[in-house]
Symmetry: C2
Subunit: 284 residues, 2 copies
């Protein structure tokens, strides 16, 4: 199930990359296909990137148009993504990229609503800047967001293993997935190595190699999310990967305010940073 959840996340990230290239940069399918094929020869090497290049290049024999352009933009699903999101809620172990992928599939089914709204809630999207450097950043951002997606999924697997006593060996899981599933990707070898070295690693974000890769690419991920934000193209999975990354590495979160509000309106009490115990305040 978590394999499929990660698959949902990676597919959505690739779809958002395609949307940004096609609607944002105005690239043609063959040009995008070549870019994905090029990415597939580097660190992004994976079955899903490979088939994306092939899908983009496929010509419809009946119309002579790119087949992809004639496919309805309404995504179906069989349930494993939803189950992954539900398990993450139960185990209190967030998987926001997977949640975003599920939400985007659901939103895609509101086709008639979207068409209506597109005429009422307009925003002009014009890409400004140089295309080639941006595409380089986009490849790095995609790689970083995919690492973060795997990190979410693997941390969920570890939480499930603890909760349900599966005694999972995550290095073996990575090795098996590398063998021949839809997720098969060069990246999985690095994941295997990471868990082999530290079976109790809480998050792949903290593995030295992935940390270094993310540190080198976070600026590109930020630039891509920032650009998308201003273009008005939805890139919920990209944005969710960055939000998770920034929350995970936040020494302080504003949850103190949430605790104070809860104590204000419901006397739910709070803890302090400077004293042990449970406290309640008469705020008024």
């Amino acid at each position: 199930m978590v394999h499929n959840g990660i698959e949902y996340g990676v597919m959505e990230l690739i779809a958002e990359t395609y949307d940004l290239m096609a609607r944002g940069l105005g690239m043609k399918n063959d040009e995008m296909s070549r870019r994905f094929a090029q990415w597939n020869r580097g660190e992004l090497n994976s079955y899903l990137i490979e088939i994306t290049a092939k899908v983009l290049a496929h010509v419809d024999p009946t119309t002579g148009d790119w087949l992809l352009n004639r496919i309805q933009d309404v995504a179906q699903q069989k349930g494993t993504g939803v189950w992954t999101s539900m398990s993450a809620l139960e185990l209190q172990c967030p998987v926001p990229v997977i949640d975003a992928a599920v939400a985007m599939r659901h939103l895609s089914t509101w086709k008639d609503k979207r068409e209506l709204a597109s005429r009422q809630l307009k925003w002009p999207h014009h890409f400004r800047g140089e295309r080639e450097p941006f595409l380089m950043q986009l490849g790095n951002a995609l790689y970083a967001a995919i690492i973060i997606t795997y990190a979410q999924g693997m941390t969920l697997l570890a939480a499930a293993s603890r909760a349900f006593k599966y005694d999972l060996n995550l290095a073996d899981v990575a090795r098996i997935w590398r063998g021949g599933c839809i997720l098969r990707a060069a990246l999985l070898e690095k994941i295997r190595v990471a868990y082999k070295a530290r079976p109790d690693l809480h998050s792949l974000l903290m593995d030295p190699q992935f940390s270094a890769e993310l540190m080198a690419r976070q600026n590109h991920l930020r630039n891509v999310v920032g650009k998308i934000t201003h273009l008005g193209i939805p890139a919920f999975a990209f944005a969710s990967s960055l939000s998770y990354f920034d929350a995970y590495r936040a020494e302080r979160l504003p949850a103190n305010l949430i605790q104070a509000q809860r104590d204000f309106f419901g006397a739910h009490t709070y803890e302090r940073t400077d004293q042990k115990g449970t406290f309640h305040t008469q705020w008024q």
Copy 2:
């Protein structure tokens, strides 16, 4: 339950606003308190904004420090947010701001992990730009994101009403909430009017008044999300509100690529834009 889900969303948006003001702009608590009090006299008028102003101004008698600064940044929850997210998954009716609020409460509990990660995954956050115009934009962005949160929650209520034959009158729901719950807000009167005029409204985003308010503020929401992205402060609820808005108003989504990928690796078939029926392609 949905009332509480929306409450989670609005509380998280306020918390992210506070984080951005405190960590991003370096504002002091009394200054932030005055800003929230000012916002509470305008379109943001609501109980949650009002108590935020009071919480920020509260001085701890034992230390003389702002009490909020001594409260642990680990949020608790009683479950209604998680239930709302689960119901949204079951009804295939996304509520991303509420999901983000739940995820951020869960992530807040990883306090020791966050402290470790903050030392390994660094990003220098320096606000650049003029503070006063940015604060004006921040208020508008908060208002827009709150509208989008209510839109998600009300659309979920309508979906539940259809699925379970509740026969809910959403104008009455808004009127009752306005009466005396934690959500009580000036905004609810506009929501009542919207559903009174069109009981079958699919989304508040499409109500003429809210559409106009969002059109006037989307640029500010984009600027705030873009700024946060570059500051490295997690603002998952803000980002999720914008992603939902942009997905809802997207005539075309890249779900065609997801359908093509699914057909490639699993022969799951797809529909076409130019012909009726269900299709499968030999992609290789």
